[in-house]
Amino acid sequence: MARTRFLQELDELRARLLRMGGLAEQAVDRACQAYIERDLTRCRMVLEGETQINLTEREIDEMAFDLLAMQQPMAVDLRFILAVTKINADLERVGDQAVNIAERVMDMVDLPKADLPVDIPRMAAAVSAMVRRALESFIEGKAELAQAVLEMDNVVDRMKDEAFIVLVKSMNEHPETTRQALDALLVARNLERVADHATNIAEDVIFWVRGADVRHNVTPEHAEHQEVTDSH
């Protein structure tokens, strides 16, 4: 006898996490757009949206907790629910980073616009793409898509490192734009953190789909090899 009700509840949990993903993704996109256009309206939308993200995080955790307690899930279902709770926490942190960026923009708009040698919009586009693909890998349940997200993280890390170097140089050479450079540097840092959360989400998708723990630079191949070795 298939556990119809349980499977329906898993579908509902999945749907709720996707709604949460949509909210977090929208918050990052709005914050990045607010930075590019120095748009206070978008900043306020990000700040107001945080309440909904926090509420949704709690609802998802409650539902996952109930399912663990009431249904005693096993194997792929257990991995799925554990992955959902971890992805949920990462999405909430993505929302927090979007709020940080929005607050930074609100600080920035009072300052004169400075021509800084850093391409934040390009970095924002790369980070948004990572969040989107991480969520796609969850929707599709495809570890290959999640694997691609892990590889994108290195690109964003390099962008952040480069931004730090050029912005520190800019501060030395143009002290009059130090505050603007500092804001840009902090936004780059926020974006890099969003990319880290997208990476965590991708790792959780791989854990759910393959049962392999690839965190901390352990590749799926390495993890599989480890499992085979352990079983002998």
């Binding site: 298939a2 556990r3 005693q72 899930p73 096993m74 194997a75 792929v76 257990l78 991995r79 079983s231």
Partner: protein, 252 residues
């Protein structure tokens, strides 16, 4: 001490119906191994082949090789010798109703001509302590009938009776299926402790129970052993889709 069990190409039939197909399994000594699977999958038949209880059913037969330690179960060893080495606990507790608690535990020994009263006292007390029943019955063991105990106590009495003859292996066929959660918890705790002295094979329908008490788990389906691995592997990342479908409740 417990001994390992080696099963090679075990096949079993009820008349013309084949119940087990080429089962190979290595059961580790002094560990608990759980056997799970849907009704009719052959898990009870499997454990009943280990102590040759299977052949007590008319027209039932088995082929293949089963070794219990150094003992070859189907070659040159009598069923009585086998069953002295392998204790068994069944789904429904079955104490001898006309015997006292004490006599129930001592039955295996006295039936084999063992009548040293002082030594019997020691063995009965040790067996009742091992089965976590001593404190509850120590004052009434000689007076009260085994049948007067609660269901959970009766099952622990049957475990005491089985271990009194110091077997090497303890087979348990759904030992908790008729018990409430408290009694089930006691038996599970007991299994955990008994592993130090015996090798345990437990058939269970309760997958949480398998995951709680057993280090190794085998999944049977239609008379075949589909997957056998460490319990945590079976219940978190099974290798076979059929195992996963069963333990996640997608069939069975």
């Amino acid at each position: 001490m417990g001994v390992g069990i080696q099963v090679d190409k075990l096949n079993a039939w009820f008349g013309k119906t084949q119940a087990l197909h080429d089962i190979n399994m290595t059961v580790a000594a002094n560990h608990a191994t759980a056997v799970i699977g849907p009704s009719g999958c052959g898990k009870s038949t499997f454990v009943r082949c280990l102590n040759r209880m299977h052949e007590t059913v008319p027209e039932a037969r088995a082929t293949g090789r089963v070794r219990i330690g150094e003992l070859d179960v189907y070659n040159g060893t009598s069923a009585v010798q086998i069953r002295r080495r392998i204790g068994m606990v069944f789904q429904k507790a079955n104490p001898f109703p006309t015997m006292s608690i004490y006599d129930n535990v001592a039955a295996g020994l006295t039936l084999n001509g063992f009548h040293d009263r002082k030594h019997l006292d020691e063995i009965v007390e040790r067996s009742l302590r091992l089965s976590a029943l001593w404190e509850e019955v120590k004052d009434t063991a000689r007076k009260k009938s085994g049948a007067s105990l609660s269901g959970g106590q009766q099952q622990r009495l049957c475990i005491a009776r089985a271990i009194a003859v110091e077997p090497q292996v303890l087979l348990m066929d759904e030992p908790c299926s008729a018990l409430d959660p408290i009694s089930t918890g006691k038996i599970e705790e007991l299994i955990f402790q008994l592993k130090e002295k015996f090798t345990i094979v437990i058939v269970t329908h309760n997958m949480q129970q398998a995951s709680r008490v057993a280090e190794f788990t085998g999944f049977f389906l239609l008379g075949k052993l589909i997957e056998f691995d460490k319990t945590e592997k079976i219940f978190t990342t099974p290798s076979d889709k059929r195992t996963e479908d069963y333990i996640t409740g997608r069939f069975g």
